[in-house]
């Protein structure tokens, strides 16, 4: 069973700037959970597209009720791969991001397409899709709910991070109020998600003893 999520996003900067920012988005005030970033493969294809593979390590932030299902030796950091194709002819960028650790516990894959906004050519639209799944017997629904809620929070942080980096690149001073608001909203969403997932987990637990 896989949970599917799709949303659109808009950045009020042109596609070129967004692509440049894409390679410079870390660190930013919303990315404290991203510990390391490395390009581990890169090539320009015969059709002049740039293909790259980026390896990220992030803090592994599983809630306590999920941690019981992690084997003791499992790394406290999560490893994530992001593949991307930048096509400067078509003015599109496609990215695919997925975790290569903790994947049995929860697997999240995200695919994004960055294109020139059809209504305003100095803006960039993002189509974002995610597939969230878990293979832990009896808890997959709770884990998927947690995963989806956390993914939505991540999207907010990603967009805020992008806006911050783009503002800096364009010589503007990014607004601190924006940063504080985003953090507060992210915290609230995370708390609500935690409660919901905890409920589901305890329900699943009760079922086992019936």
């Amino acid at each position: 069973m896989v949970k599917y999520f799709c949303c659109g996003g808009l950045l009020k900067s042109n596609w070129d700037q967004v692509c440049v920012a894409f390679w410079q988005r870390y660190p930013n005030p919303y990315s404290n959970h991203v510990l390391t970033e490395d390009i581990i493969f890169r090539e320009v294809t015969p059709t002049n597209c740039l293909i790259s593979r980026r390896l990220l390590t992030k803090t592994s932030r599983a809630p306590r009720w999920m941690e019981r299902y992690l084997p003791k030796h499992m790394a406290s950091s999560a490893y994530i791969i992001e593949d991307s194709i930048v096509d400067p002819q078509k003015r599109t960028m496609t990215t695919l991001t997925w975790n290569i650790s903790h994947a049995r516990l929860m697997s999240v894959e995200e695919r994004c397409e960055y294109q020139i906004n059809p209504d305003n050519s100095s803006w960039t639209q993002i189509k974002r899709e995610a597939w969230i799944s878990s293979n832990i017997y009896g808890l997959s629904r709770a884990i998927q709910e947690f995963g989806l809620a956390r993914f939505k929070t991540s999207v907010t942080k990603t967009m805020k991070g992008f806006e911050y980096v783009l503002a800096k690149m364009q010589g503007e001073t990014p607004s601190r109020t924006l940063a504080e608001t985003a953090t507060e909203r992210a915290r609230e969403t995370a708390l609500a998600a935690k409660e919901k997932a905890k409920d589901l987990a305890s329900q699943a637990h009760k079922k086992q003893y019936v």
Partner: protein, 74 residues
């Protein structure tokens, strides 16, 4: 940002600087005159691939854009 290999961070930053300049000023503008960063990339890769092996990070075996083939949409 730091590299996953602590010893590679300086090489990474040197490469990133070169890449970011080439990407914005040449690649996106359709200038195909060649990549000035191949040497600094090679040095960086030598270091980071070694660190990845040492830390046992499971990067092998997945083809480029591999996981998204045949994805259901519901």
């Amino acid at each position: 940002m730091n590299s996953v290999g602590e010893a590679c961070t300086d090489l990474k930053r040197e490469y990133d600087q070169c890449f970011n300049r080439w990407f914005a000023e040449k690649f996106l503008k359709g200038d195909r005159s060649g990549d000035p960063c191949t040497e600094t990339f090679r040095k960086y890769q030598r270091c980071v691939q070694k660190a990845i092996k040492e830390k046992d990070i499971p990067i092998d075996g997945v083809e480029f854009m591999g996981p998204n083939k045949d994805k259901p949409e519901s």
